[in-house]
Amino acid sequence: MDAILLQILNGLDKGSAYALIALGLTLIFGTLGVVNFAHGALFMLGAFCAVTLQRLLSLSYETIDETKTDFLGNPLKVKTPYVEGWFGPEVGGAIIDWAVPLSVIIAIPIMVGIGYAMERGLIKHFYKRPHADQILVTFGLAIVLQEIVKYFFGANPIQTPPPDALLGVVNIGAAFGLEIAYPIWRMVYFLFSVAIIGGVFSFLQFTTFGMVVRAGMADRETVGLLGIDIDKRFTTMFGLAAAVAGLAGVMYGPINPPNYHMGMDFLVLSFVVVVVGGMGSLPGAVLAGFMLGILESFASTTWATTTIPGINQIIIYLVAIIVLLTRPRGLMGRKGVMED
């Protein structure tokens, strides 16, 4: 029982990353009709916002400690971060410690800016082009973005730890007499994702802006005829989608250390998620994200892998094939979307 609940939690946690990326992909696809292969790269850029902030906060001045030596036998240069110099080790240390949550604040404007620049600078020239061209150009962009990150940060993963206060595990089953020890940060990530998903949905549901966008997703031409400048709002949607992917990335860092190719690792999976959910369906993307996360978790259990060897390797793709063959438009897809 405990084990099953634990795997469900793991699934939800994995699923929340899938769902956030897929949500952004679907927003872009639903509003702009663009297949964005650079979306994984946005997730990666988000994670590297946190890395960058952490590096900036840790910028240090060097003092020479004559009593110690470095690996070459020279006097050791001791590094002290400027923030610790300015605010004292207590406050300064705390600021560095909270680098990841702090990055959320700087990541939002940065990611919206990147999204805006991408849409205005590149994507908008591709609205009328075939999907294959969109895939190719965004794929090229993804390569360029990840190579730039690699140039500056290297290929190895970079540790972005959570704040000390959020380290460790909490027994969330204690109230029910169950033993379900779960890492605090993973709980934070899940709740954060739910909040973001909720935020996006209520934004689309309750604001005029959201209504126009939803109408535009349903029928772009009609909304255009009403004299609403739908394109401008769609650009903003691109910024929003980029921010969602970026935030998913920022907060993901402490779960698994970011590296330059983490975007590509998630890209294929998120496309599968979007398609299983149904192209252009926001609830579908979220549902499929969580569903595939949970399925993947259960396929990883010893029970599953001994029953069907290698099932953990192929489960996602197997599910995608079955769903697409039995439900042609995915779980919640609309008719006529992306079928030509």
Partner: protein
């Protein structure tokens, strides 16, 4: 001649001349000149140009004609390679059964995958093929390489071991892939002319001969009623349906043909170098095929071959330019200038070749949607509009055709 019209015949002849003289054309620089870095006329790369050309020609039959974007074509390449190596292991190092079996097995796989995937179109089709290919990769990389049932030899790649049966192997035959005793990796001629060196490799000429055959077949197919129907599928499936034609068997046939081309390429790859690695089935490998085709010009006859050559050239030549080489290039400059130029160029070559490739893709897709072929056409038009008499196009890349795929 050969059932081709004059224009196509010219194209075929040009391609034939280019492939047969490739050892000369690809080695334009003397070996000890600074530019020798850019020579591509060594057997391995020449073989790769041709083999990936075949792969791209096949992919183009599916994608260029019908518009169905398969993201799993590398799976057939992998299946073909495994099939060929298994033939080496079981029968002998003769490449004929290996290549035949790789084409047949890839054909069977494509019947299966195509039948299922073609029940959907658009991006759903792409994702289905991607899913199949990723499954094949995962199976080949780990599941099917377990010690109890080792079909693929996993990470290391399938290769021939001394204790393999090789029931048709006889003494006197080379212990490497061969065509009735003619070893693939041997060079039948090495020519040294002044500062130049040219290598004529057995394997390359086998691949080149096969390329010419399949290129010829693809021209015939492009000009045939079948090819026309495939283009009609891409253009308007609704109209095709209401014209009394069933798009399904046409697309399935195109899928199978292109799968068999990929299998052939896989078989040839294994025949040139008898090792089949699972990585050639990964989705990024499929992506590379797509990139080749679109970069060269999807739907055109020669485009995919150019695209394949372009990418392989990048992968093999650009990735080998290291800082040491850069310093030597710029060594004639004053020191500060030299360091500055090396600093500027450094991120784009050697380990940065992915970056350059990514930038190039974006530029080509943005400004030349028809790929390199369109670039050639524009160049041709530019030359003509300047009032010069248009030259008879020698190079198919600069072939000034109005539309790339008009069957006349």
């Amino acid at each position: 001649m050969l059932g081709l019209n004059k224009k196509d015949m010219t194209l075929l002849i040009v391609v034939a001349i280019l492939t047969l003289l490739a050892p000369f054309i690809l080695n334009p620089f003397p070996v000890d000149s600074g530019m020798a870095q850019f020579n591509a006329g060594y057997p391995d790369l020449m073989q790769r140009f041709v083999i990936f050309g075949i792969l791209a020609i096949g992919f183009n039959i599916l994608f260029g004609l019908t518009g169905y974007l398969s993201f799993g074509h590398a799976a057939f390449l992998g299946v073909g390679s495994y099939a060929a190596v298994w033939m080496f292991k079981l029968l002998s190092y003769n490449v004929v059964p290996a290549i035949l079996f790789s084409v047949i097995l890839a054909g069977l796989f494509s019947v299966l995958i195509g039948y299922v995937s073609l029940r959907r179109s658009g991006i759903y089709f792409s994702i289905l093929t991607l899913a199949f290919a990723q499954m094949s990769f995962a199976l080949a990389y780990s599941v099917l390489s377990n010690p109890k049932f080792n079909l693929t030899n996993g990470e290391t790649g399938l290769q021939v071991y001394a204790d393999d049966p090789q029931i048709l192997h006889r003494d006197g035959l080379p212990d490497v892939p061969h065509l009735f005793g003619w070893a693939m990796r041997d060079n039948f001629l090495e020519l040294k002319l002044g500062g130049w060196e040219f290598t004529f490799n057995n394997g390359y000429y086998l691949c080149a001969a096969i390329l010419l055959v399949v290129f010829y077949l693809s021209i015939r197919l492009f000009r045939s009623p079948f090819g026309l129907m495939l283009r009609a599928v891409k253009s308007n499936q609704q109209r095709l349906n209401y014209t009394g034609l069933n798009p399904k068997p046409y697309t399935l046939a195109a899928f199978i043909i292109s799968g068999m081309y990929a299998g052939l390429a896989g078989g040839l790859l294994a025949s040139m170098d008898p090792l089949a690695g699972a990585e050639r089935m990964q989705w990024t490998a499929s992506g590379e095929i797509v990139l080749m085709t679109i970069l060269g010009g999807a739907g055109t006859l020669i485009g995919p071959v150019l695209g394949a050559g372009f990418i392989k050239y990048f992968e093999n030549i650009f990735s080998k330019i290291n800082d040491n080489v850069l310093h030597q290039w710029f060594s004639f400059m004053p020191d500060g200038m030299e360091d500055f130029l090396v600093f500027i160029v450094h991120p784009f070559v050697g380990k940065g070749w992915h970056l350059t490739l990514g930038i190039l893709f974006m530029l080509v897709v943005t400004f030349l949607p028809g790929g390199l072929v369109e670039g050639g056409q524009r160049l041709g038009r530019l030359v003509r509009s300047r009032g010069k008499k248009p030259e008879d196009p020698k190079d198919p890349e600069h072939h000034p055709k109005e539309t790339p795929h008009v069957a006349e």
